[in-house]
């Protein structure tokens, strides 16, 4: 089966991000595929590459990045949710006339159209958080 994960909560403050990650690992381990991971609302904080986790905790940005690279997963961050929360890639940062950016590939900033595209192309859409 082809899955899409819709992540709605921030890492570190909500366990849903961990649950989503474990779900993703389980899905892939059973030979299924992940069409897209869509970060929406506070879920966009999962894309913050400035995350510095304590030594005894996992870096959750890095964990998603590593999984995406290993399995070629599409990680999409909702632009409307992201910009107001300071999650910007280099392009958006330049556009907003800022001199820093807070997310990098494999995270990709795009619109809600990507959620509906994922709905059309996935057998299951599973939401995490809230």
């Amino acid at each position: 089966m082809n899955y899409t994960l819709n992540i709605l909560s921030a890492p570190y403050s909500n366990q849903s991000s961990d649950t989503a990650y474990q779900f993703a690992k389980a899905v892939l381990a059973r030979g299924h595929s992940i069409y897209r991971v869509f970060l929406f609302g506070e879920g966009v904080y999962n894309a913050n590459h400035l995350t510095c986790s304590p030594q005894d905790e996992t870096n959750k940005f890095q964990r998603w990045s590593d999984l995406a690279h290993e399995f070629d997963i599409d990680l999409v961050v909702c632009v409307a949710s992201a910009l107001k929360r300071g999650i910007l890639d280099q392009t958006e940062s330049t556009r907003a006339d800022l001199n820093q950016y807070s997310t990098i590939p494999p995270f990709d900033i795009s619109g809600l159209g990507q959620l509906y595209d994922a709905i059309a192309h996935s057998d299951r859409v599973v939401s995490f958080g809230r």
Binding site: N2, F40, G41, I119, S122, V125
Partner: protein, 124 residues
């Protein structure tokens, strides 16, 4: 496997009260985006979500955007019907005359059938 050309019936399930968190606004944003992309979208208000439907919200007093105005904008995108569960309203002392005029109220059996008639459910 998913057929790429099929438009799925998507239900936006609103379970949170307006204000206090961004959840209620973001749910309607998802619905509006779906309508823009010509998806088949329904919106059901359940639990505390029914508070979003209350008339006479005075959100200016708390410097927040008015949820009713946001719900009113749905009609322009051809989402003309809103749905609410009867028990959620009743348990909160709300009646049909207190809530958005575009709302259809469903009893619990109808609510179950309504939810089941959709292929994708996004809960906010």
């Amino acid at each position: 496997m998913a057929d790429n050309n099929v438009t799925k019936k998507v239900l936006i399930l609103c379970r949170n009260a307006p204000y206090g968190t961004s959840t209620s606004r973001e749910a309607i944003d998802v619905a509006l985006a779906g309508a823009v992309f010509e998806q088949n979208i329904s919106i059901l208000f359940l639990d505390d979500g029914v508070y979003q439907l209350l008339n006479d919200q005075q959100s200016d007093a708390i410097m927040q955007k008015n949820q009713t105005k946001l719900l009113d904008s749905l009609e322009m995108y051809d989402i003309e019907q809103l749905y609410a569960e009867y028990d959620s309203l009743k348990n909160r002392g709300l009646h049909a005359e207190n809530i958005h005029s575009a709302t259809t109220i469903l009893d619990s059996t109808e609510t179950s059938a309504f939810i089941s008639s959709h292929q994708v459910i996004l809960s906010y």
